[in-house]
């Protein structure tokens, strides 16, 4: 059974189509990154998957349960972290988690055990007696993640879990997400615009733009579909120029200079030694040479460029 399925899912708010004909199949296990800029439709997709918003048309399911028809059944197997879902500010962090554990049907003792385990794992234990109103943004995000994990979910739906966090907190939270995904055999659907973090923890991706899924698959297949190739980069001794050098077109594209490095897109990364040899044979003194693989951000940008008619917002997603 697939963890998450969406078939021609559409959501319209008035005249705005937030999600358009989205078809998605996320297998169990691993971390699926739903990538997109603000306004791409990530939150709407997650809200429909957890039953907070009903689709205008189309269907979706989480572990075979329909969130539109039976949201409670979905919530029994699924943990959700949304920026708009706030904890009870007047209660302490521990009281919040105990309530959500018991609301999930856990007996008092089991709830206490689970809450202390999560609070220790997420480094919230020392703050357990503090009212949530006194929590920092990072602590609130951790508490929200703990709430999503409290009933041992099989599927985690996370919407921008690192939004508003500094670099260290964001990094720590992503590490926790991947740790839970591995340890508890949980499928994670991560809605994010942070490409750098997504690449470090996701096993597969879907790229959303203007409410439409423009590409999906693992990094390699997305990279191939987008035509993103590895780059060869060279730095020459004494700041020498490679302007006059014309590489064999079967090896690479023309060389361009950027910050003292000469860069060419390779037809195949196996051609790197031949290109390097060719440069050296032409009498250039190569000080440094490196093979640069495309990042998820490169793939994302290239994918959006290949979908004309959509507003290009790729620059906003550097993570």
């Amino acid at each position: 059974m697939e963890a998450v399925t969406a078939v021609q899912l559409t959501k319209t708010y008035g005249e705005v189509q937030a999600v358009r004909d989205l078809t998605l199949h996320v297998p169990q296990g691993g971390v699926f990154g739903l990538l997109g800029a603000q306004g791409a439709g990530k939150t709407t997709v997650i809200r429909m998957l957890c039953g907070l918003t009903k689709p205008t048309s189309g269907e979706c399911s989480v572990l075979g349960c329909s969130p539109a028809k039976d949201p409670a059944a979905v919530h029994a197997v699924c943990g959700v972290m949304l920026a708009s879902a706030r904890p009870y500010a007047h209660m302490t962090g521990q009281q919040n988690l105990l309530f959500f554990a018991q609301a999930a049907g856990m007996a008092e003792k089991a709830a206490e055990r689970r809450v202390s385990e999560l609070m220790k794992d997420l480094e919230l234990w020392d703050e357990r007696e503090r009212p949530v109103s006194e929590y920092s943004t990072g602590m609130l995000q951790k508490l929200s993640l703990a709430r999503a994990l409290v009933n041992y979910p099989s599927v985690l739906l996370l919407d921008e879990p690192t939004s508003g966090l500094d670099y260290e907190s964001a990094h720590a939270l992503h590490a926790l997400v991947s740790q839970f995904a591995a340890r508890e055999d949980t499928t994670v659907l991560l809605g994010t615009s942070m490409m750098h973090y997504a690449q470090s923890i996701c096993t597969a991706y879907g790229i959303l733009e203007g409410g439409e899924l423009v590409a999906s698959g693992d990094f390699q297949s997305l990279r191939e579909a987008a035509g993103c190739r590895a780059h060869a980069e060279f730095r020459l001794s004494g700041g020498e120029s490679l302007e006059g050098f014309r590489p064999d077109e079967t090896l690479a594209t023309g060389l361009l200079e950027h910050n003292g490095w000469w860069r060419a897109e390779l037809r195949d990364e196996e051609e790197m030694p031949r290109l390097l040899r060719s440069i050296v044979e032409h009498g250039y003194d190569v000080l440094e040479a490196r093979l640069v693989e495309p990042t998820l951000e490169d793939v994302y940008k290239r994918t959006l460029e290949q979908h004309p008619g959509k507003e290009g917002t790729a620059d906003a997603h550097a993570g």
Partner: protein, 268 residues
């Protein structure tokens, strides 16, 4: 029967109501004022002020039932207060208690945007509705029961001081057994009704004030000589309240839906 999860929600809601200063004040100070302080002050006035010479006292005493026409001015006035004004004050308690607690835990969740988090639990919407109503009603029941106990003491002291028979009569029985529970339910279901139309606790709480108006009229009208509030009139009033409760209950159950109360923005 309520499930473990529903019990957890009720406990959480009790804590939420108790953490609100406005709700605490309403649940403690208002009943004390309405059923202890004000009746005690009236009792003191009846005992201390020479009523025989007061203007209009004879017209007021003419409102006494025929079998109590032998009461003197003090007794007659205290009887009228106990059966016209004090019931009005007392009935405000169940209405206010359930309305305030409902405004805290229904509109409060919406106002603080925690309703969304609650809807992400495996609790069904109907279970949330049921548990929250159970919380409001049980809190209102406890407040009303304690208030009635306190009022009984004050009224009994007055009865003993003025040499009158115990105040409890058919009208009061209808009030305690039918009208008060009806108003408890009404306060809560009306707040749920208002929940979809208001955006804050204060706003939803204000709407309850409009609902209290017909009851004010019910108890003020006898002083105009239009009609007398007796057990039959109160029975009719209770029937109307329970009918409203039933209607609102059915309506609330149908309209208590996530789409109605989630202020879902145009998210990304």
């Amino acid at each position: 029967m309520l499930t473990l999860a529903e019990h957890a929600l009720i406990r959480k809601d009790f804590l939420e109501i108790w953490s609100s200063k406005m709700a605490r004040a309403t649940l403690i100070a208002v009943p004390i004022g309405l059923v202890v302080v004000v009746p005690a002050l009236f009792l003191a006035a009846v005992c201390l002020v020479p009523l025989e010479q007061a203007a209009g006292i004879q017209e007021m005493l003419s409102l006494l039932p025929p079998h109590l026409q032998h009461y003197n001015a003090q007794q007659g006035l205290f009887y009228l207060l106990t059966n016209t004004l004090f019931p009005l004050f007392f009935l405000m308690v169940p209405l206010m208690a359930s309305a305030v607690s409902a405004s805290c835990i229904f509109a409060g969740e919406k106002e603080r945007r925690t309703i969304e988090t609650l809807l992400l639990t495996p609790l069904r919407v109907r279970q949330i509705f049921r548990a929250k109503l159970a919380c409001c009603l049980s809190l209102s029941f406890v407040t009303t029961a304690i208030s009635f106990g306190a009022f009984t003491i004050v009224a009994s002291v007055g009865d003993i001081m003025l040499g009158m028979s115990f105040f409890l009569n058919w009208s009061w029985l209808v009030i305690i057994l039918l009208l008060s529970p009806g108003l408890m339910v009404f306060g809560a279901v009306f707040m749920v009704f208002a929940f979809n139309r208001t955006s804050s606790r204060i706003e939803s709480f204000q709407t309850v004030a409009y609902v209290a108006l017909p009851f004010l009229l019910l108890y003020i009208a006898p002083f105009t000589g239009l009609f007398r509030v007796n057990a039959t009139v109160l029975l009719l009033a209770a029937a109307v309240v329970w009918l409203c409760d039933l209607f609102l209950w059915i309506y609330d159950r149908r309209t208590f839906l996530p789409e109605k109360f989630l202020n879902a923005p145009l998210e990304d």
